[in-house]
């Protein structure tokens, strides 16, 4: 998993390596400084010449400046490396998601994809930054400090033999205990935030049922629970500081006592006062480096969940593939279903579609009716190969859809989805999704056909009017007509409208259909609708029920043969709708 994620470092390998190098430099100097400082203190104490002291001082100053430069550069390159890594991760994730089929998208919900692209990437970025800053520095400082401490202090360094095992055990124990506590609390925390979001979104329902107090209580209980768990986890981690302090202070007392004894009894031969302060500094550095290692451990475990979630997206196999030598030309708009059965996932027990046999000639208009959950949308989604059939075959233009280049197939089959969406941008921008190079004339033509031209022109900025995110500033019917126009600009061989005129009034709906019949007669039109009037004059009407074709035929035939059709027709025309 780490390997796959590390691939995303790419062009930021250089800053990463530079960071490591400069941090090594900084760490070495940092370790040398106390050594030289100790010398200087000894020089002062022993009454060395002013020139010698000044020289040592100058050396120290130069080292400080070097350390500053190294640290500064490392900080800079580290920022570059970690931000760049995050950028690449996001880019890779986004690109990967673009290759997903509908099935892949269904598997991850869109909100979870958003979290993976944002929060999870940020977590990994922070972990990466921590790691490249400390992964080399900490062990390096640790080893160096120990060596120096031995060289300088000799026996005094025994102090470390005592404190290091204590500290290591303590830190391990703490992180082992804290980790699961944190993991579970973070999960609960996410759920708490989800429930807040739910509450905000459903505020009209909450208020409508006067459930404010109920919601407060529900939230209060959850928040209290989080508080308890969080406090417990944080209290474990809070033991770090005293542990550190105990070791540090023990080191102080030990070094001071033993050191003074050695100095005094040897008459200052074996050890100088300067060494004592040096030892104290090294003790500090050793502790710091161990602290850092434990922090890396904590960071890694905390971000492991995020890494896993990112990894899952990156390694998800797109379920649809282009065939080896794809057909790039769709000859005509005929559609055939041969013994098609389909279920959404291999584990599902029920088939969404079963035994569908269907032959649509190029240029036909086909209407599809059926109740909620009768798999109308599922049926048409198989035509542009948004999903692959489980059994049987779907053919477009006489060839199995699986033999076409996916892009070529979808260019020829335009689909207006039921849950459709416009994107933030101008109306023109949105329409050009159908064809990037569409001329203004073509755009207008498509809009006229979709009965959208008139209202677009009534906007102050016409075709350059800005559409808000989610298309919230046009009405439902207007949005649907723009979506139809967007599909028409493709000049498709097959046009599928999945309940795309439900918010359009019957008259406009009729005009759109009349336009289709007149201006794009050679295009196969498949229309899913809830209004009988929308499909009544189709060449073929299918009535779907429970994933099967329950009846097929023209309006007149179905009125005679299909009780469901008759029922729907009557439910919509009761009261005598003589004008339709």
């Amino acid at each position: 998993m780490l390997k796959r994620l590390a691939k995303c470092i790419r062009e930021y390998k250089l800053p990463t390596i530079l960071t490591l190098i400069f941090i090594v430099g900084e760490a070495i100097i940092e370790c040398l400084i106390p050594f030289i400082t100790a010398n200087m203190v000894n020089q002062i104490q022993s009454g060395a010449e002013i020139g010698v002291i000044l020289r040592t001082g100058l050396l120290l100053a130069v080292m400080a400046i070097l350390s500053l430069s190294c640290g500064g550069i490392a900080g800079y390159t580290c920022a570059k490396a970690s931000s760049g890594f995050a950028k690449n991760l996001r880019a890779d994730l986004f690109r990967k998601i673009q290759t997903y089929s509908f099935e892949n998208i269904d598997k991850f919900s869109s909100s979870s994809l958003v979290t993976r692209l944002t929060t999870d990437v940020s977590n990994v970025q922070m972990a990466y930054m921590m790691i490249i800053r400390t992964a080399i520095r900490a062990p390096l400082m640790f080893t160096f400090s120990i060596i120096m401490a031995y060289r300088m202090g000799g026996k005094l360094a025994t102090s470390f033999v005592i404190i290091i095992p204590v500290l290591v055990c303590g830190l391990l124990l703490i992180s082992r205990k804290a980790m699961p506590a944190f993991r579970s609390v973070f999960r609960k925390y996410d759920r708490l935030n989800e429930s807040i979001e739910e509450n905000v979104r459903a505020m009209r329902v909450v208020k409508g049922f006067s459930r404010e107090d109920y919601e407060k209580e529900k939230f209060g209980t959850a928040a209290e629970e989080i508080r308890k768990d969080f406090t417990r986890a944080e209290r474990i981690v809070a033991l770090n500081t005293p542990l550190m302090q105990i070791c540090l202070n023990f080191n102080m007392v030990f070094v001071l006592f033993v050191g003074s004894r050695i100095i005094v009894s040897t008459g200052g031969e074996a050890l100088g006062v300067g060494q004592i302060s040096g030892m104290l500094t090294y003790g500090m550095q050793i502790l710091m480096s161990l602290m850092m290692v434990s922090m890396i451990y904590v960071m890694l475990t905390m971000s492991a969940e995020s890494m896993r979630r990112i990894y899952a997206v990156l390694t998800e196999e797109p379920t649809l593939h282009n065939p080896a030598s794809p057909l790039t030309e769709v000859p005509d708009g005929s559609v055939d279903f041969e013994n098609v059965s389909f279920k959404y996932s291999a584990e599902a027990d029920a088939f969404a579609l079963s035994d569908i046999n269907l032959h649509i000639r190029s240029g036909m208009t086909v209407g599809i009716l059926g109740g909620t959950g009768s798999s109308k949308s599922t049926l048409v989604q198989l035509i542009p190969r948004l999903y692959d059939v489980t059994e049987g075959a779907v053919k477009v233009g006489g060839n199995d859809v699986r033999s076409y280049d996916i892009e070529a197939l979808r260019e020829a089959v335009a689909m207006v989805l039921q849950k459709n969406q416009l994107f933030s941008g101008t109306i023109k921008d949105n329409l050009r999704w159908g064809n990037e190079n569409a001329t203004d004339g073509e755009i207008e033509e498509a809009c006229k056909l979709a009965q959208a031209d008139e209202f677009v022109r009534s906007f102050p900025d016409g075709y350059d009017s800005w559409i808000e995110q989610g298309g919230t500033n046009v009405s439902g019917g207007q949005k649907q007509r723009l979506c139809i126009a967007r599909a028409l600009i493709k000049k498709p061989k097959i046009l599928i409208l999945d309940d795309s005129t439900s918010a359009v009034d019957t008259k406009t709906d009729a005009l759109i259909r009349a336009g289709f019949a007149r201006y794009i007669p050679e295009t196969t039109k498949i229309i899913i609708a809830q209004r009988v009037s929308s499909v009544q004059d189709a060449d073929l009407i299918l009535v779907l029920d429970g994933g099967r074709i329950s009846a097929a035929g023209t309006h007149e035939e179905l009125m005679k043969t299909s009780p469901i059709y008759r029922e729907v027709y009557e439910s919509q025309t009761n009261g005598g709708n003589e004008n339709e």
Binding site: T37, M40, V41, I50, I53, L54, M63, A64, G71, G72, G75, Y76, C78, S83, F94, S110, S111, L113, L117, N193, E197, R204, V205, K207, G208, S210, E212, K216, F219, T231, E234, P242, M252, V253, L256, F257, S260, V264, G267, G268, V273, S277, L280, T281, G371, T372, G373, L386, I406, R410, E411, W433, E436, G477, D505, K507, S571, Q572, N579, E580
Partner: protein, 644 residues
């Protein structure tokens, strides 16, 4: 909807003193004992951990004096007691550090919990207007980003600020005690540090704010693309999407890189200024020592020690380290403090939002009907509800809840000067079905928003069972009104829980009965776990129509005398709707129902149909009457007009 959007408050760059004060006040009121105790522990440990430097210096002085003689026995008599004191001081400091670290964990989480709950409780009482005019993502970020920054502020920045300043002050005093000239050298360095912190820290904060903004932009883009991913696929628009994403992602990278670069560079700079300062002190000290310059310090003034000695310089150097180390620690917190204060500001702003006013005093009570037909409160569930209406003279009258709604000359505007409704007058008698028809923006939903007082009318009167709705307690008013909206919102939980939301004490049987009424029963039993199927993500695993059916069942179980159906069946196919309609007709029996529907077939059988246009009722009457009038309704019906 072009309703006004509140701009997200720009986070302030400067520390806001008032805000800090308020935050501290909140902390104190949350933990009146623990907070001062913790602060005490922090101060105590800061002071205690500064003092050992004096004893180290004393020990070194003894070593210095005895080195020549090499007599350990004599030296140890002086050294051991000092080291014992040192050890005691250390133990005291460890005890206080452990105490405040543990207390801090308790306080931080308790405080965050309190703030969360205060925000949430406050939010439940806010008027619908707040939710209509603020982006939901923005409201949410109070609970996520802002609380997170507050956590950092309370658990780390504030204690570290307190501790650092206490140590700095103590150390400063001790340094002055030893040597004034050397202290001046240190202070000079500190000024440099503050200058650098201000410069670089300021730059860092600036870019962090920018990074936050780009992050929001990126999130917005991702959100839009992910929810429209299927459209992207259908149009083979992947390449273009990637192109746009790369641009936005690049901007985020630039800002994030700068913010982190500034923050990362600050640490080494401050630390090495500290190193240089150390060298400077050592050199100056060495020079003074060699030149035997008389030392000036508080100690010399009091005790008359006149010369600088090595046993002053060594501990002084140690103190320099401690001093600059603490300044460094403080400078590392500067970003967290700035961001934390910005978060606190937004949290307080949400808590300060004006709650929905409710001056209603008429309440809904269970009642029993006496033989003479008058009502009296029952104190238990009877199935009969009455409005308890206390009057100024102390008498209390009871009015039976019937569901009679009348509006007289109602005017309303969401925004001053932009009236949405004009002179609306209507009456709905108990059991009547009243329908609203009209274009988007004609004011249909607005009328229903007024009946349940999501918004208050500007002028005119609305009476419910003859009582002005302003006098009715809002929660009781809403309890007597069931609403089913076009945008269905379900909660995480089982299907049964969701239906029960309408009436919390409903039995399973009642819920199932309601589901049958709404025609939801058939599909619910076919779900993997039937009524106990867990729903999540607003019922993501259900179709829109199925969700609407559940929301109808939810309203049905509440059994209110008045129902508002706002496009409640728009996503249900007409055949199912016809079935639901039978259930609804049963449900509506004896109830007053307001229906808003796009499909005329849904409203045709209403007792009264109101055709709205630009906030005015332009036609009213039943279907036959309106058809006979051959007005707007007739044109709508025949498809000559578009309903948008």
């Amino acid at each position: 909807m072009n309703k006004p959007m509140n701009r997200r408050a720009a986070p302030g760059r400067k520390l806001n003193g008032k805000m800090l004060l308020r935050l501290i006040k909140e902390l104190f009121s949350a933990y009146p004992v623990l907070v001062p105790l913790t602060a005490g522990c922090i101060l105590f440990s800061a002071i205690v951990s500064s003092i050992p430097a004096i004893f180290i210096q004393k020990v070194i002085a003894v070593i210095d004096a005895c080195t020549a003689s090499g007599d350990w026995a004599q030296a140890s008599r002086e050294i051991v007691p000092k080291i014992v004191v040192l050890a005691v001081l250390y133990i005291l400091s460890i005890v206080s550090i452990t105490t405040y670290n543990q207390l801090m964990a308790i306080i931080t989480q308790g405080f965050l919990c309190r703030m969360r709950r205060k925000m949430f409780d406050g939010m439940q009482n806010l008027p619908i207007r707040y939710f209509d005019t603020n982006k939901h993502g923005d409201i949410m970020s109070h609970y996520t980003n802002d609380i997170d920054t507050l956590r950092q502020l309370v658990s780390q920045s504030l204690p570290s600020l307190l501790q650092s300043s206490a140590i700095v002050l103590t150390v400063l005093f001790i340094m002055l005690w030893y040597s004034v000239p050397l202290t001046l050298v240190v202070l000079f360095g500190v000024i440099a540090m503050f200058f650098v912190t201000k410069k670089i820290g300021g730059g860092s904060a600036k870019y962090f704010v920018r990074q936050q903004k780009s992050l929001g932009k990126t999130e917005g883009f991702i959100q839009e693309m992910m929810s429209g991913q299927k459209v992207v696929k259908v149009f083979c628009h992947e390449e273009e999407a990637i192109e746009d994403f790369d641009r936005i992602n690049g901007e985020l990278y630039e800002d994030g890189f700068r913010a982190h670069a500034y923050a990362n560079v600050l640490g080494p700079i401050i630390q090495n200024i500290g190193n240089i300062l150390y060298v400077l002190c050592a050199t100056v000290g060495g020079l003074l020592l060699l030149l035997k310059v008389p030392n000036v310090g508080i100690s010399s003034a009091l005790l008359g020690i006149g010369v600088l000695t090595i046993d002053i310089i060594v501990p002084f150097l140690n103190m320099t380290k401690q001093f600059t180390g603490n300044v460094n620690q403080f400078s590392q917190q500067i970003n967290a403090i700035i961001m934390g204060m910005a978060g606190a500001e937004r949290i307080f702003a949400l808590m300060d939002e004006k709650p929905e006013a409710d001056e209603g005093y008429v309440t809904l009570v269970d009642a029993v009907e006496k033989e003479d037909g008058s009502l009296e409160p029952a104190g238990k569930h009877t199935g009969i509800w009455a409005w308890q209406h206390p009057h100024g003279d102390g008498t209390v009258t009871y009015t039976k809840l019937r569901g009679d709604v009348r509006m007289t000359d109602v005017d309303f505007a969401y925004e001053e000067g932009k009236p949405v409704l004009h002179d609306i007058s209507l009456y709905a008698e108990p059991g009547q079905k009243v329908a609203f028809v009209g274009a988007t923006g004609a004011g249909k939903t607005t009328i229903t928003n007024l009946i349940n007082r999501f918004y208050d009318i500007a002028d005119g009167k609305i009476r419910y069972d003859g009582i002005n709705i302003n006098k009715i307690k809002k929660s009781d008013l809403r309890r007597s009104l069931g609403i089913v909206l076009q945008d269905v919102n379900l909660f995480t939980g089982t299907v049964l829980d969701n239906i029960r939301y309408g009436k919390l004490d409903a039995t399973d049987e009642e819920c199932i009965e309601a589901a049958k009424l709404a025609n939801a029963h058939d599909f619910i039993v076919r779900l993997p776990n039937g009524y106990h199927t867990e729903l999540s993500g607003n019922g993501a695993n259900l179709s829109q129509g199925q969700r609407q059916l559940i929301s109808i069942a939810r309203a049905a179980v509440a059994d209110p005398p008045v129902m508002i159906l706002d496009e409640a069946t728009s996503s249900i196919d007409t055949r199912t709707e016809a079935l639901v309609q039978q259930g609804m007709d049963r449900l509506m029996k004896g109830r007053t129902v307001f229906v808003i529907a796009h499909r005329l077939s849904t409203v045709m059988n209403s007792d009264v149909i109101m055709v709205l246009d630009h906030g005015r009722i332009i036609e009213r009457g039943n279907h036959e009457k309106l058809i006979a009038e051959k007005g707007t309704y007739y044109q709508l019906y025949t498809g000559a007009f578009e309903l948008e």
